[in-house]
């Protein structure tokens, strides 16, 4: 058995109105070359102008990952020739990244682990190339889109941790509102560095790099394939070659691309067209204030304060909208466990069934709170409550309106119920006799009868009480 050492480099496109250094739109589209400014084409004489929103979002993400921010914003040039890089250099950050020395906690089934973040920097995306048999096409829509790159320390031990890290990281992006992080649109991509070492070895083994893996499941499969491959190489007494490998989506295998990845000299130097801008404490504090309560923190609260199960807490924090929805219900004074039940069953179930997002769902947290309150006050049965909620989602009518219109509010008026109870008792003297013979359980039969008569509106608890009272009188 060998010890596996994995480091990840994650690229994520930021959600901004315009590109990182130009005024072209940052917007996903299938029509090529529509979101293009002179700057994105690298025409002679162009100058980059930094997008403040991108800077802010990069700093914000760095903060959310517990990184140290720099004293000033500064960019570097990474020089290399490739047709998808129109300027012949990429504007990135080497000297002063937006964040260094951070960490992100991941929650595995039976343990928690801090994944160390080496750095987070802001850079620009390249154009995209479409290769055909004897020609290639360039789409500059992607050229210059703001991109953050997050580099972890080599501290990940297996594919599960890697995937959990990516999921947790993606969640941070979404919680902070910095990106949609949709890997289907290529908004989140991942490079994997992986090496194997003897259990007690002091030095890392030879590193293999796998570039641009575009889905979490592929990351998992690529890592697992590489572990097997490298194990085989080492067990047969050979050495792992330092190289870049490509993961093939179809065969689920990795293939050698080129050796010695460190040999490229990118001739980095500070971008002279953007003077360094000092970051004030006030500015950073302002950004910090905008960071919402993050998933791990919420997870802890749900377990420690609300006494939810780890499973339920995980389900709730997995999506910020759900967590916010859940917390809004609690803010309305609803018991957290009760709130959790309703959200994880009726609400999440409906989202799946209706294939809508929470935002599109008609029933708001306040509406649901109102319904739960009616149940607590014995004014509504759980069964009716569910029916009302589903109808509300369907017909887009407020649940309370439905209750009013259909007189679905629970009957808990003693006198009203007593009338129905006595009717039922009168009609079924034989069952009353059974009760008198000591068969207490037949009381439930009368609950059913009263329910029938009240179209399910009777409070079952109250009804049972009254049945017991009335039946003893006979």
């Amino acid at each position: 058995m060998y010890k596996v050492v994995i480091g990840l480099e994650v690229h994520c496109e930021l959600k901004t109105n315009t590109k990182n250094f130009s005024r072209a739109k940052n917007e996903y589209t299938n029509i090529p070359n529509v979101n293009v400014a002179t700057v994105d084409l690298g025409l002679p004489g162009i100058l980059p102008v930094v997008n403040q929103e991108a800077v802010k979002k990069a700093l914000k993400t760095a903060m959310a990952l517990n990184c140290t921010n720099p004293d000033e914003v500064l960019f570097d040039r990474k020089n290399y020739y490739y047709p998808d890089l129109p300027k012949g250099y990429q504007i990135t950050q080497v000297t002063k990244p937006m964040g260094i020395n951070g960490s992100l906690k991941i929650v595995m089934n039976d343990y928690e682990k801090d994944i160390l973040i080496h750095q987070l920097h802001l850079e620009e995306d390249t154009a995209s190339l479409d290769h055909y048999s004897n020609y290639s096409l360039i789409d500059y829509n992607r050229s210059g889109i703001p991109l953050i790159e997050i580099v972890t320390e080599p501290c990940i031990s297996n594919s599960e941790e890697a995937v959990k890290f990516l999921e947790t990281l993606r969640n941070i992006f979404i919680y902070c509102g910095v990106s949609e992080a949709d890997s289907k649109k290529g908004q989140m991509r991942c490079d994997v560095n992986i090496s194997l070492m003897e259990e007690n070895a002091k030095e890392f083994g030879t590193k293999v790099e796998m570039k641009n893996i575009n889905s979490f499941s592929n990351v998992k499969e690529a890592i697992e394939y590489e572990i097997k491959r490298q194990t085989k190489v080492l067990e047969s007494g050979n050495k792992v070659i330092q190289e870049t490998r490509r993961f093939d989506d179809d065969t689920k295998q990795t293939y050698a691309m080129r050796e010695k990845v460190d040999a490229v000299d990118y001739k980095y130097f500070i971008e002279p067209n953007m003077p360094p801008v000092k970051l004030t404490k006030e500015y950073l504090d302002e950004i910090r204030k905008e960071i919402p309560k993050l998933p791990y923190e919420r997870y802890k609260t749900y377990i420690d304060e609300y006494q939810l199960s780890s499973y339920d807490a995980n389900v709730l924090v997995k999506d910020k909208e759900i967590a916010d929805y859940f917390e809004a219900i609690i803010a309305n004074g609803i018991n957290p466990k009760e709130a959790c039940n309703w959200v994880t069953t009726v609400i999440l179930g409906s989202l799946n069934k209706l294939e809508v997002s929470l935002e599109e769902l008609f029933v708001t947290a306040d509406m649901l709170s109102g319904i739960i309150k009616l149940i607590e006050q014995n004014k509504l049965s759980v069964g009716n409550a569910k029916k009302i909620l589903y109808r509300s989602m369907d017909e887009k009518i407020s649940p309370l309106t439905i209750i009013e219109k259909e007189h679905l509010s629970q009957i808990d008026d003693d006198e009203v119920l007593r009338k129905f109870v006595n009717e039922a008792l009168d009609e079924h003297q034989d069952v009353v006799n059974q009760f008198k013979e000591g068969k207490d359980y037949v009381a439930n039969y009368f609950v059913g009868q009263v329910m029938k008569k009240t179209k399910g509106q009777a409070s079952p608890v109250k009804t049972l009480e009254i049945i017991n009272e009335e039946i003893r009188k006979r």
Binding site: L41, L43, L47, Y81, P83, P86, K267, N273
Partner: protein, 483 residues
């Protein structure tokens, strides 16, 4: 009114008094541009009067623009084969401002290829001749912009200055060359050579005209993060009292005793400089000699080459023939780019790129690039320190008159190293710097340069204006009736 000898202000008056129209001025300039084709000032001559009316002082005033500015719909070649058919899709801010102020573009002027060079002989359309003596160069890189104003084809022109590319050819051509504080004029649309050193500036035949032109083209530009918020009008302080102002010059560099006695031309340039200093003193300006560390002065040129070549190699990486420009041939994308760049640049440019690339290599960066930046910082700090005592540096713009073509080269030489390379101090520090004619040696114009502290553009122009008045070489012109 004689068009060729007129300053901007002269033309303004004639236009305002309806003695002449913009169309007539344009026709005149266009005719001269064609007549003086032997000088090779222009890559492109505009033949159609195209005017956007405005109330600006430059309305209907003809001018020329260096061919390394982006002009939408008009060929912009930077005198390089790799851009020989390049027609931009956008306007440089300077060009846009001039268009909006009603100025009339007469032509795009010749430069050393990609503005890298100081001779005016390396452009892909041939050498630019000095109108004062056609066997001589006018210097570069803004060669065409200098010669066109020297000839009076236009009263002003726009150039760019990375080391001395406006001020040196201005000196050799007997005109005023001004580059203001870094950032005062937007660089958006100027084909980048070395971004941290590149300046936009102008050629005129009077200091006042330089202030007038700069006032129009300066100002903050949202396309250029290094551009500065606009200050007041530079013209306003141009006639201020200069009595009591203090200037300095580098002692050893300007002392004729430190040079070969047989080099009569140099000795005469320096003697004339000292005569000029005496006249400057008559204005009540205090002029003192200052010791400046020799090793820093000796390091100016290598430092400049290290920084400028490094930035240039990166800045010109967009010229691959992929997005625009002649497409190379080859079996792979690498071969295609390689071929386009091999054919597109002259040997001279390739040498600079190789140099720049070498300087930026990981193993050389600390020793070559970072050290160059440290020297630059030392020079600038020293200058800023001196500017606490002095209002400006006054120096001969060059130790020579315009060189003959056979002597004109960009090779590193030991001779007069400092006198020929001190102008780069203005680029290192982004200092406002102006060269004005100060007389003649061997019937060729000579010049002095005044460089002041950052953002003191008004003061530099004020002092230069007063000295110009005192020396009496305002408005000199080359061509038919030489001095």
């Amino acid at each position: 009114m004689e068009y060729r000898k007129s300053t901007i202000l002269d033309l303004r008056k004639s236009l305002d008094n309806n003695e002449i129209t913009g169309e007539q001025l344009f026709e005149e300039a266009n005719k001269l541009a064609h007549n003086y084709q032997n000088i090779n000032s222009f890559v492109t001559i505009i033949d159609k009067y195209n005017h956007r009316k405005s109330n600006s002082i430059l309305d209907n005033i003809p001018y020329a623009l260096k061919d390394n500015f982006s002009t939408r719909g008009i060929l912009s070649t930077a005198c390089s084969n790799i851009l020989k058919d390049y027609v931009p899709v956008y306007d440089a801010t300077v060009y846009k401002k001039l268009k909006d102020s009603g100025a009339l573009l007469v032509g795009k002027t010749t430069l050393d290829e990609l503005a890298m060079g100081g001779t005016g002989t390396t452009g892909n359309t041939g050498i630019v001749k000095n109108p004062w003596d056609e066997t001589r160069a006018i210097g570069g890189s803004s060669a065409g912009s200098a010669s066109c104003v020297a000839l009076g084809i236009t009263p002003f022109s726009i150039g760019s200055d990375t080391g001395d590319s406006i001020r040196k050819p201005a000196a050799y051509g007997g005109v005023v060359g001004f580059k203001p504080t870094y950032g005062l004029i937007s660089r958006y649309g100027l084909f980048a050579f070395a971004s941290s050193l590149d300046h936009v500036g102008c050629f005129t035949r009077s200091v006042l005209d330089a202030a007038i032109v700069t006032d129009i083209i300066k100002g903050y530009d949202h396309h250029d993060m290094t551009s500065l918020k606009s200050v007041g009008k530079l013209q306003d302080s141009i006639n201020d009292e200069v009595k009591g102002r203090k200037l300095f010059y580098f002692k050893d560099v300007c002392d004729p005793n430190n040079y070969d006695k047989n080099d009569s031309e140099l000795i005469e340039v320096l003697n004339k400089f000292n005569e000029t200093i005496d006249k400057v003193k008559e204005l009540g300006i205090i002029v003192e000699e200052v010791e400046f560390p020799k090793e820093l002065l000796m390091a100016l040129y290598p430092t400049y080459m290290a920084i400028s070549c490094a930035e240039a190699t990166s800045n010109n990486s967009n010229l691959t023939g992929i997005q625009f420009g002649p497409r190379g041939e080859g079996n792979s994308i690498e071969e295609i780019m390689f071929d386009a760049r091999t054919k597109g640049f002259s040997e001279f440019i390739k040498r600079r790129f190789v140099l720049g690339s070498y300087i930026l290599q990981k193993e050389n960066q600390e020793k070559l690039f970072k050290n160059a930046q440290r020297v630059r910082r030392l020079v600038v700090d020293r200058m800023v320190e001196l500017f606490k005592t002095y209002d400006g540096l006054i120096m001969p713009t060059s130790g020579t008159i315009a060189p003959h073509f056979e002597d004109s080269s960009d090779k590193l030489s030991d001779k007069y190293l400092i006198l020929e390379n001190h102008l780069v101090i203005g680029n290192f520090g982004g200092f406002p710097s102006i060269s004005i004619p100060s007389g003649f040696v061997n019937k060729m114009p000579i010049s002095i340069n005044i460089t002041g502290n950052q953002n003191n553009d008004g003061l530099v122009l004020n002092i230069a204006n007063k000295i110009e008045e005192k020396l009496g070489y305002k408005g000199i012109i080359a061509g038919d009736d030489n001095v």
